[in-house]
Subunit: 238 residues, 2 copies
């Protein structure tokens, strides 16, 4: 079973949704058959790398609310993060452009470390208050999960993997995906948003049942069925 | 779209069903996307190569009917063959074991000529009254469709491709296939027997529509959907 996950590293519900999916998979009896592929999705492709506001101020400006109200909203999201074992430090989070982080994740995926890089980047942003557009920061994170620091720096200084990131985003556009996290199971079923663990569990089971369903016979009713067996040939009116 | 066809070369409804499927594909607007794979299925794996009865006598014995009645039954099948442009010569047909013909078809498929060999073998049996267990006859047929006569003879004198034939039959067993022709569309939907052209057309369209269906969103009703877009993050009660 293949699960494609479109998400951004600066998307609070993406990290929460990822954890809920992982918890559902952990409880799923056929978890060894589940394969996750992470896909790029930038919430704000035009975001500058350097932003001289904190996350509360950005939110306050975006929604036209007071900074206090924004803090309360973030606290609510933080509480949900807590519930799945994540720690969000909104006060020190460094909002930035995530394009290079996505390129790095693609480079990691190319080296079989996509899942690790994805997790590390989310933690870097939400928990460690790292600036995930800074090449040295990104290279450090790459090295942490077992990639070559210098190779990562070379990748980051160029335009490598830009096409892969754009291709994921184009695919999202074609699928009508406007928000993340967005989960696609076996290229057919989709879950939008950070659903409860139980919703992921049900989806996993549903898709699994479908995979395991024996062939669906679609002979039209009332049609003649003409076939042969070891016993001879038959014309049956069904 | 992939269509797997389990059939035997000595199965009258297999050739008729094949033609009906082909006619449906010919009329199908997306015919270029359809790929057919022929699978082996022996109606009578224990059949001897040499049988000193004609097809009417075999039928008469099998069903406990008179030879005249058997002739009438065969004439009815022959009429259906006519209707799809096939000519069945029941009087001179040579009943035999089809295992080597299946091995030859596998060898042909290995050389990209599976469809051609399949068609040629069916015609050889039903129309040309060939003995399709005779190595020289089989090698002639192989040569006709562009294979090397001597290579075919070598294959036939050994046991090559026996495993491929058996694997198809084992797969059929696992899918619960007891009679042929049996058509499996995209490993999911099945048509049993030589259905009318229209039934194949409907099935092709149904499977095509399913392939082209956009993602099915399976978010549970009444669940909170937590996601982020370029405009910000949302918690909606759906």
């Amino acid at each position: 079973m293949k699960i494609e996950v479109w998400s951004d590293f600066a998307c609070p519900f993406c990290y929460i949704g990822k954890r809920r999916l992982e918890q559902a998979i952990e409880k799923f009896p056929h978890r060894d058959s589940v394969e996750i592929e992470f896909k790029s999705f930038e919430l704000d492709p035009n975001s500058p790398k350097d932003i001289d506001m904190n996350i509360h101020e950005i939110l306050s400006q975006k929604y036209g609310m007071s900074v206090e109200q924004a803090k309360q909203m973030n606290a609510n999201v933080g509480k949900q993060a807590d519930e799945v074992g994540l720690t969000y430090h909104f006060d020190t989070m460094i909002p930035t452009n995530t394009f290079d982080a996505h390129r790095l994740a693609k480079y990691a995926a190319d080296n079989g470390l996509g899942a690790q890089m994805n997790e590390r980047l989310l933690k870097a942003y939400f928990t460690d208050s790292k600036k995930i557009s800074d090449p040295n920061t990104l290279a450090d994170l790459a090295e942490e999960i077992g990639l070559h620091r210098n190779e990562a720096l070379t990748i980051l200084s160029g335009t490598n993997f830009s096409d892969s990131v754009r291709a994921d985003e184009e695919e999202a556009r074609q699928l009508g995906i406007t928000g993340v996290p967005f989960f696609v199971l076996n290229e057919k079923y989709a879950i939008s948003g950070a659903q409860p663990v139980e919703a992921f569990s049900n989806a996993l089971q549903m898709v699994w049942d479908e995979i395991k369903t024996p062939l669906k016979i679609i002979n039209p009713k009332k049609s003649k069925s003409e076939y042969c067996t070891g016993e001879g040939c038959e014309v049956t009116e069904e």
